[in-house]
């Protein structure tokens, strides 16, 4: 079933747009229901995965606009100050937190683009179809998003 196959990837995209929390899960649920109801209208000559992800991404962006989600994007003090505690076991968690914080600083379309491209393996053309923008714009989104995210992660790399 489409939920089992695409649910977790869709959740990551929704969380990239809306941040962690129930809003992202609600957006995935809304998107999956919308896709399920629209299955009859799906053009089988086209690829299914980008079609589904477009619905989920739009559901997430709609929810973001509708509810005017203002997630706390403040990075915890320990991370913002750049101090890396000696406990290496906690580092993975710190990297994740830093990455989440950096991700939420990005414009929402850059977030979606970089997550779809680097984390989910979509092509620039597919992402262009999902976001409804030219392919060159997607390349630009990914480029700028990567620069921000790599910058946020650089100190962890240097330390390693």
């Amino acid at each position: 079933m489409l939920v089992d196959r695409y649910g977790l990837a869709a959740r990551r995209v929704a969380r990239a747009v809306l941040g962690p929390g129930d809003d992202a899960d609600d957006a995935v649920q809304d998107g999956m229901i919308a896709a399920w109801r629209a299955l009859d209208r799906f053009d089988s000559a086209r690829s299914f995965r980008p079609w589904l992800m477009r619905i989920v991404a739009n559901a997430s962006l709609d929810l973001l606009r509708r509810r005017k989600v203002r997630r706390a994007t403040a990075v915890p003090e320990t991370i913002a100050s750049g101090g890396i505690p000696p406990d290496r076991a906690a580092e993975g968690s710190l990297v994740r937190d830093r990455l989440k914080g950096a991700l939420l600083q990005l414009p929402e379309r850059q977030r979606v683009a970089v997550v779809l491209f680097d984390a989910e393996g979509y092509s620039h053309a597919e992402i262009a179809g999902i976001l409804g923008v030219p392919e060159g714009t997607v390349r630009s989104y990914v480029f700028h998003a990567r620069r921000t995210l790599r910058g946020a992660l650089s100190e962890f790399k240097e330390d390693a």
Partner: protein, 113 residues
Amino acid sequence: MTEPVSFESSPDAELGARLRSALDGPEPEQFLARVRGAVRASGRETTWDVLARWAPAGLVAAAAAAALFWLLLGPAAVPDPATQLIASAPARMDIAPGQAEADVLVSTLMEGR
């Protein structure tokens, strides 16, 4: 002078793995079960569901159309027995192996009348 922006065309595997790790939500199985349940409860109509809902009305309409057709065209559509007999007679072609004689041809033609 501005430096040209170079776009990498292949995914960054390391960044991708870190992003997935950062964005994976808690309790994935529970989440999937919840969405599965919601989708199931949403009750999408299949083509057959739509057809099934329309079936009684369709049958009534088809019966009414058939009755009307019969009333308007039924008697006229049934041919009289003589016409039916002629229509059912097989077409026949006589081919003479040799040169046909005139009296045979005439008698054949007369038989048809």
